[in-house]
């Protein structure tokens, strides 16, 4: 057994040389292999059921916390979770957290997979939009075809299953019959779940593809190197069932068959050591990251409650006000970095009347900093963004809200910098707007479907070309003209028209405006009737 100090020392040595090089070499973009490496500076001590754990996040070499999903799925993050024993020994596992959104706080479904360092699966935890606590779950891997079949039938049927006793990365080699019975060829125990306690998910999971793992022989010292892990995206179709089952309440069994090892059992053993415990006893899910990229605090962690009823799955309700995102935007404006940056931009603009910008960066140690003010031209400015940017701000030396060009450059930069999700614009009259990414994939699709209209020497515009029976430029103008006719100011008409384009053509971006009290409200515009010059619209602000 290696002691933690030795482990950390070895890690430090490796991190400075070989692993840094590996991480740089093997990072191949969104759909390739990712190398993630531990950031000990962000390690957190976690106490759970009188046991001590150390939770250490992995980061990509470029400082990003989240790895994009494959095939249009969400993102994932990785942590090394070390169970610290009283005698100084430890046992470690890797937690993969798979999100259906861009980060923990923006996701409606979060699935956490625990694996031992040799790749053996341990247990799985689940949270969705309707339950704000993460709970122990059981996972059954299924094929895409099974996923589609079950999706159609699942809502009213009882789901009987044999739970595979081993790897989550093994495809479920079974079948689904007309009565929704799933027969596994690789199962070791039979469990029955009410479909009301189960949901099916299509998520991106990641597996260790570094080749260091040694599945099946987890002897000490034979673990894969946990300091740098190569992970490969893998689209997983899964049935996730929550709650103890009649056939699995007595404990024991494999680590992935019900999660009883984490949720029940005796947890108050103060003399615990690896020898006292089942080698496969999994570590508990530690709390979510306490500090999000924008400096906000994540929802509090609650202990799993295995017996809690799991409500039937419903599609996540749309949030027309993008409330959570609006709160993030507001919190970002409370950051000292933002306040300092805004002041600096305003002062610079007051002197020369030109555009200026700053970027707000989150450093690897979690601190938030602001870049120096970037000097722009009369009507353009460098975005000032870098790999650590989470937001930026620039001024318009007039009262114009964000332009089509602002939208397209935002999408383009966000595609390269996934943590960059907020673009602030301050106008000459002091109005502050925020463009926020509500759906990165939708934003990419919007930009691809409606490419910006370019004319050298002129600002970009929404496309004039007819796509699916619509000319975005004309739609924008119809909306703008309508609001002008309704006695809105020119600025308000422009806001309404931009919000109409973003909302109605699924741009994955919301337009927000700061209120007098510093909060942000999303501007909503909908077409209420007519076509072309006969169109009518309604515009309002979320409260």
């Amino acid at each position: 057994m290696i002691h933690l100090k030795e482990f950390q020392q070895n890690s430090g040595l490796k991190k400075t040389a070989e692993n840094t090089r590996m991480a740089q070499c093997l990072f191949r973009g969104p759909k390739g292999v990712f190398m993630v490496k531990l950031d000990w500076s962000k390690a957190e001590n976690v106490s759970w059921h009188n046991k001590s754990f150390l939770d250490v996040p992995y980061y990509l070499d470029n400082g990003q916390r989240y790895v994009p999903g494959a095939d249009g799925n969400g993102t994932a993050s990785f942590n090394l979770v070390i169970h610290l024993y009283k005698n100084g020994d430890y046992r470690a596992a890797i937690r993969t957290t798979s999100y259906d959104g861009l980060s923990y706080e923006t996701s409606t479904k979060v699935v956490q997979f625990y694996e031992m360092l040799d790749g053996r699966p341990m247990n799985i935890w689940y949270k969705d939009a309707r339950r704000q606590k993460i709970v122990s779950a059981t996972q059954i891997n299924i094929s895409k075809e099974e996923y589609q079949l079950i999706k159609r039938k699942m809502s009213h049927r009882l789901l009987s299953s044999k739970v595979p006793g081993n790897s989550r990365t093994n495809s479920f080699a079974g079948s689904v019959d007309a009565n929704m019975n799933i027969q596994s060829e690789a199962g070791s125990g039979s469990n029955t779940y009410d479909s009301a306690n189960c949901t099916i998910t299509e998520t991106t999971t990641y597996y260790d593809c570094s080749g260091n793992g040694n599945p099946g022989s987890a002897g000490e010292g034979e673990y894969a190197d946990p300091v740098v892990v190569a992970v490969c995206p893998f689209v997983t179709h899964t049935i996730v069932c929550v709650g103890e089952t009649p056939g699995n309440t007595g404990g024991g069994g494999g680590p992935s068959t019900g999660g009883s090892g984490t949720s029940g059992g005796s947890n108050g053993d103060n003399n615990e050591s690896p020898d006292d415990c089942n080698d496969e006893a999994p570590p508990p899910p530690p709390p979510p990251p306490s500090v999000n990229p924008d400096g906000t605090t994540a929802p509090p962690y609650e202990s799993p409650t295995p017996c809690e009823l799991f409500l039937p799955e419903e599609p996540p309700k749309p949030d027309p006000c993008a409330t959570a995102k609006a709160q993030i935007a507001e919190k970002r404006t409370k950051l000292k970095a933002f306040i300092d940056g805004l002041k600096a931009v305003k002062e610079a603009a007051a002197i020369d009347g030109k555009e200026h910008s700053i970027a707000i960066n989150q450093n690897t140690d979690g601190t938030i900093t602001v870049t120096p003010v970037s000097q722009g031209a009369d009507f353009s400015v460098n975005s000032n963004l870098g790999s650590k940017s989470i937001a930026n701000l620039h001024n318009h030396p007039n009262t114009s809200p964000p332009s089509a060009g602002d939208v397209y450059s935002f999408i383009q930069n966000n595609s390269m910098l996934p943590n960059y999700t907020t673009k602030f614009v301050v106008t000459q009259d002091g109005s502050i707007y925020a463009l926020i990414i509500t759906n990165q994939l939708a934003a990419q699709d919007f930009s691809a479907k409606y490419p910006k209209s370019i004319l050298p020497g002129s600002p970009p515009e929404f496309t004039e070309v007819e796509i699916d029976g619509v000319r975005l430029f004309d739609e924008y103008q119809f909306s703008r003209e309508f609001f002008r006719g309704e006695d809105f100011t020119n600025t308000e008409a422009n806001e309404g028209a931009l919000a109409y384009i973003l909302d109605s053509f699924n741009a994955g971006i919301a337009l927000l405006k700061m209120n007098d009290d510093g909060s942000f409200s999303k501007i909503n515009t909908k077409k209420t009737g007519g076509e072309g010059p006969n169109s009518t619209f309604v515009k309002n602000k979320c409260q």
């Binding site: 004319l455 004039e464 029976g469 000319r471 004309d474 003209e481 006969n534």
Partner: protein, 139 residues
Amino acid sequence: MKNSIQALTVLLILLVSCTGRAQMVKSVDEIDKLDSNKSYFIGKSIKHLLSEIKPEIKMAKFVPGTPGINRSSITLFFIPVNKYKQYAKDHKHEPSYFRVTVKENDFEYNWKGLEWTPEMEKKFGCYIVQGIFVAKGRK
């Protein structure tokens, strides 16, 4: 005397060939020729562009540019203002039009449509064409 007659003859031929030459766009159906010959018009005046269009311009929409935000453009239609809305209602789409992007922005925003007048042609005729977009109405 002989030289004078020859010069007069050449002048007459030139005059006839200029005034009598065919315009590029003879009907609204040929409006897309403006797009395929875009490079011929860019950098020249709107007056020059209009001289190549036989159908009468009857309506215009104006979007004045805001530097760094949006471009200045004048959108020209072959349908009068009083029939425009009804056309869109009956046909479920816009009639044919072409849009000229210009540098100047000394006009008011109007997307409802204004009657295109000789005064407008005189004022805006001097503006230089920066870009052309053609939208052909459906049959």
